[in-house]
Symmetry: C2
Subunit: 191 residues, 2 copies
DNA sequence: CTAGCATTTGGTCATTCGCCCAAGTCGAAT
DNA sequence: ATTCGACTTGGGCGAATGACCAAATGCTAG
């Protein structure tokens, strides 16, 4: 195998810990992730957790922000070149197909939202992400002539997260029907 | 004071424990509620928790279901006498004024949704509540001529819960503007 | 008055928790 | 070859956890 410098190995361990944390937050819940199960999942000795991170909370914060940032980046609608509101909606609702409510990604989002309630530092980071995403959606909506783009984006994103939240309880609802109804939120002004 | 029979005192203790549990789930998160803080909050000795309830999980389940059932009952729109979709919306969005996202009630809902993910017994109870509420809303929508009442109810309720979820992070959004946009979901067929 | 009962008490059990640290390993630079 | 520094190991700290139980308490029915 490739010989690793100790610095490289250290970075590798850090990444494994962050990945394991994102998994376990979704599986067990934010406050139920412990240093020992975390280390075991990462395939690493428990002592390493507090060598690479100041505290368990700090690790969880970094893991959640990094993982969520990645998801948001690839879910964000293209900032230009979209003029049809229906196309905007399709881009967003593709998330409804990708995430089923009970999957690690959906649960990580909800868990982090709740953890933000009890961690001001985390709240600021997540609120900034949410606002960026909302404004991105609003910009596209404005470009395609939808009235009140900012408020519409707020409702649209809320409906998406809320639907995923409910889907965790009840998977029987039809995503296709939901998409149809969501289209009412982005009416085309002309015609 | 009124002399209490031991049975009455027992029932009283049970209620205090349930009330304390609902508070603490919101404050600390579902998995972070312990028997000892629970007993302290209820003004009761720790040993009583496992006398009145089979387990801590069982207590939390009962507390969440009872508290949520009470909220749902008083938020549900009147099942008859409403023919204007705007009035339906007003009845529902009144919850947006009552709950600010970071209040105990909102947090209890989200926490319980997440706990349901890891507790099949709880999930069935909460899913039934959600479906009852959705169908109640759908029935009123159907009565006032809104197209696709079931799917509309799903989206509407999702938007409400999602908005509360996001409000916990960012209280800067305008509830009034949100209500305006939500009106698009319930278009009047006539006119 | 007494026996029976639900309730309450105070304590203990093994386990797990976050965090810390002295000692050890090992590649890189001198 | 030796030193340096980053990384890792294994153990241990006090505190908290869920659950359990024998003994005490006190109301109530006989």
């Amino acid at each position: 195998m490739a010989p690793e410098t100790s610095a490289e190995r250290g970075r590798h361990v850090r990444e494994r810990l962050l990945a394991a944390a994102a998994e376990l937050i979704a599986e067990r819940g934010w406050t139920a992730v412990s240093t020992r199960v975390l280390a075991e999942r990462a395939g690493v000795r428990p002592g390493l957790v507090h060598y690479h991170f100041a505290s368990l909370q700090d690790l969880l914060r970094q893991a959640a922000v990094a993982a969520m940032g990645r998801v948001v980046a690839e879910t964000s609608p293209p900032s230009e070149g979209v003029d049809d509101p229906a196309a905007v909606l399709d881009a967003l609702t593709s998330a409804l197909d990708a995430y089923e409510g009970r999957d690690p990604t959906s649960l990580l989002f909800i868990e982090t939202y709740l953890a933000s309630t009890r961690d001001p530092e985390l709240r600021e980071l997540i609120a900034a992400m949410l606002n960026d995403f909302r404004h991105g959606v609003a910009e596209v909506l404005r470009g395609s002539g939808v009235a009140e783009p900012e408020a519409t984006a707020v409702v649209l994103v809320a409906a998406l997260d809320g639907y995923l939240l409910h889907k965790a309880l009840d998977v029987s609802t039809s995503t296709a029907a939901v998409k149809t109804v969501l289209r009412r939120l982005v009416p085309t002004p002309s015609r």
